[in-house]
Structures are given as structure tokens and as C-alpha cells.
């Protein structure tokens, strides 16, 4: 299956409300940064909503319109226009405390329920990640800056989906590095010179999750 189809499937899942909390946040950030993706979501929501037009209506038995006027409205905090869905959870992206993984590569884990691991990744200009693949799928969304790998260049608002078949060696852009949001369904498998050590490291880390 090609990557566009996988991206669309995520968008459709989001529009239908079928995604878990972590993926839902991921896609909402994608729609926030990428207007084409937002348009697709809009189209799909319209298609789904259209089903309400010819649904066999069932009148509520014990509910009158006056019950809805009196009902206390849920007064939740409304996101301000300048904010985005992610900053609602972590605050200002510039102010979070990063955990250094190795030189030029930092992480910040987001505490989500479920089996997906969600984190922010910050790579200094020119930093690369050794050649690796993934046991499950990995979704990467560029929030700031850009990176490139064997498959192309990824800028702000671009998404990359990697699976078992993808081996890649991403490198952050030389000018301003990059910050990405990443969801991994399973751990990363490294190749090459330091591969076995890095694999051992992820194996040990899995005990502390």
C-alpha cells in the first residue's frame, strides 16, 4: 500500500472518530499544519454527515428542547487561536525539558494510554539517526524545520509513515534542525556498526516503560 493511501486512512479514521487518543492528537496536529490534509478531513466528514439526511429518524421519548436549554453547558477551556492542539497538552514547544539521547538528538515522551509510544524528537542541524527499521509502524510529523532521508525531504506539516520494510537514515536539515512528533507502534531495529548496541539499549529500555 502506498504512503498516500496510509495517510488518507489515518485522516478518514480521525474524521470517523475511530482512532485512539494518541493517533487522534497526531492527526489533529497534521490537519493543523497541512491545509490539504484538513481539506480531505472536511470532505470525509461531509460524506459521513450526509448519512444523517436519510437516516430513519427515531424521536427521543423523554427529551424536550427545553431540557437542552436548561442543561449546563460543559464549560471547558477553549483553545486560543494562536495555540495548536499539542501546545494544549505540553505548553510552549520552546520551553519543554528535553531528554538528551545522544549528541544532537533529544526526546520528550508524551504520557498516553495504550500501546503506542508518543514522543517529540528534536534533532540539531545536521544530526542523523543511524540506519534502522521498525517492528511496527512509525508515524513522523515535522513540526518545525526539516529532515531528509533516502526517500526525500520532509518539511513542516509533512508526514512520513515507516514500516518493517522501510530502512532509513534520517538527517536533520543543516540550517535549523528539526522538531518532529512521532508515534511508534513498536520498537526500532537498528542496523550497521553500532546496531547491536543500540538494539540492546532499546531492549533494556523496554523493561522500564
Amino acid at each position: 500500500m502506498n504512503s498516500t493511501a496510509q495517510k488518507n486512512e489515518l485522516i478518514f479514521g480521525y474524521s470517523g472518530g475511530n482512532l485512539n487518543e494518541a493517533k487522534s492528537l497526531f492527526v489533529s496536529m497534521y490537519l493543523h499544519l497541512n491545509s490539504l490534509a484538513a481539506k480531505k478531513a472536511s470532505i470525509f466528514e461531509n460524506i459521513l454527515a450526509d448519512n444523517l439526511n436519510d437516516i430513519n429518524e427515531i424521536r427521543p421519548q423523554n427529551l424536550k428542547y427545553t431540557d437542552c436549554i436548561k442543561y449546563p453547558s460543559s464549560s471547558k477551556t477553549i483553545l486560543s487561536k494562536s495555540k495548536n492542539p499539542l501546545s494544549n497538552i505540553i505548553g510552549d514547544l520552546q520551553k519543554i525539558t528535553w531528554k538528551s539521547v545522544y549528541k544532537g538528538f533529544k526526546e520528550y515522551n508524551l504520557p498516553f494510554n495504550g500501546k503506542d509510544s508518543v514522543k517529540l524528537i528534536k534533532m540539531d542541524p545536521g544530526t542523523s539517526v543511524p540506519l534502522h527499521s521498525h517492528n511496527g509502524k512509525e508515524y513522523i510529523l515535522v513540526l518545525e524545520g526539516s529532515f531528509c532521508d533516502e526517500y526525500g525531504e520532509y518539511n513542516k506539516g509533512d508526514m512520513q509513515i515507516n514500516d518493517q520494510k522501510t530502512k532509513h537514515n534520517p538527517t536533520a536539515c543543516k540550517n535549523d534542525g528539526c522538531i518532529c512528533l512521532s508515534i511508534s507502534e513498536n520498537d526500532v531495529v537498528f542496523f550497521g556498526k553500532f546496531g547491536s548496541i543500540l538494539n540492546l539499549f532499546t531492549f533494556i529500555k523496554s523493561f522500564f516503560k
Binding site: N8, L52, R59
Partner: protein, 175 residues
């Protein structure tokens, strides 16, 4: 109900807090939303409870509705779907607020209404009845692949591959 009338009623609700106008919107929308929840396998009490939440949101947040961005039915559907997501996640400790995020996305949505309508027309011409039914069952009624397979009496693998090929067909128009 005519779109012009809907827009007029919503304006009366948001600007004048007109209860009579709201009663008309209630009669138009509530039976659809209630049916949507019952179709999604919620029991009658739960369905009415969530319908109440949706209609209360329409009453209290009518000012958010923008007829340039969407039809009332689409806006109502997204509220209803969000309430359903919240309902299923209620017992879990959530770190995000789905409703907030989706309100925000809606307010900041820059999609052009005409262009969207045009694409939707093309997609609905392209999909045959079975494909539309699968999309409806999987994404509108949110039935699992297993349940769809049982209801249509076809293997689960066939359900998956048909949904995938339907989505692929749709994506030709999503450029």
C-alpha cells in the same frame, strides 16, 4: 429543511437566544442524532442522554457555527461523534480534550465550501451502493470489521480489502 431557513434559525439562536427557533432546530436534528446513537449500538437511555448533550452544545455554541464552512448537519454530526468519543473514553484518564481540539480545528478550518461540495459530488458518483454502505458501516456507524463481516455474511478479509479499495478509489479525488 431548506439551508436558508437553517441559517436563519441558527442566527436567531446565537444572536437573539430565540427559544422558538431552537425548538425548530431541535425537531429537525434531535431525531437524527438519536437514531445515529441507536445505530451505533448505544441503548435508548444513553442515546437520549448524548442527544441532549449535542443539542445543548448547539444551543450554547451556536455562535461557533459558520455557514460558510459547513452545513448544520455536518457541524451537528461532528459534535455528535465527539460526544461519542468522549463517552467511550470517559472511564479512562485522558490527557487531551477531544472536544476542545475539534472546536479549535473547526474555527481554524480554511477549506472552501464550494470546492468541497464539488469533490463530494464526484466521489458519490464514483462509489457504488456497496462501497457507500461499507464506508457508512465502518466510519459512520463505527462497526468493527468483524461485525460488518457478520452482518454482510462475507469473510473479514474481504471486508478489509473492500474498505481499502474503496478508500483508494476515493483518494483519486482528494488532491
Amino acid at each position: 429543511m431548506e439551508n436558508e431557513k437553517v441559517i436563519n434559525l441558527i442566527q436567531k439562536i446565537s444572536i437573539d437566544r430565540d427559544e422558538k427557533a431552537f425548538s425548530e432546530i431541535f425537531d429537525f436534528i434531535a431525531p437524527k442524532i438519536n437514531a445515529y446513537y441507536i445505530k451505533s449500538d448505544l441503548d435508548f437511555d444513553q442515546a437520549e442522554e448524548l442527544t441532549q448533550e449535542v443539542l445543548s452544545t448547539i444551543w450554547s455554541k451556536a455562535y461557533l457555527f459558520d455557514p460558510q464552512k459547513s452545513k448544520l448537519i455536518t457541524w451537528s454530526f461532528t459534535i455528535a461523534r465527539n460526544k461519542k468519543i468522549d463517552f467511550y473514553r470517559k472511564n479512562k484518564k485522558n490527557i487531551t480534550d477531544e472536544q476542545d481540539i475539534r472546536d479549535f480545528m473547526y474555527e481554524n478550518n480554511k477549506a472552501n465550501d464550494y470546492e468541497i461540495e464539488h469533490t463530494i459530488d464526484k466521489i458519490s458518483q464514483e462509489l457504488d451502493e456497496n462501497q457507500q454502505k461499507l464506508i457508512k458501516m465502518s466510519f459512520f456507524e463505527q462497526k468493527s470489521h468483524k461485525k460488518i463481516a457478520e452482518e454482510l455474511e462475507i469473510p473479514i478479509g474481504t471486508v478489509k480489502s473492500r474498505i481499502r479499495s474503496t478508500l483508494n478509489k476515493m483518494q483519486k479525488f482528494l488532491k
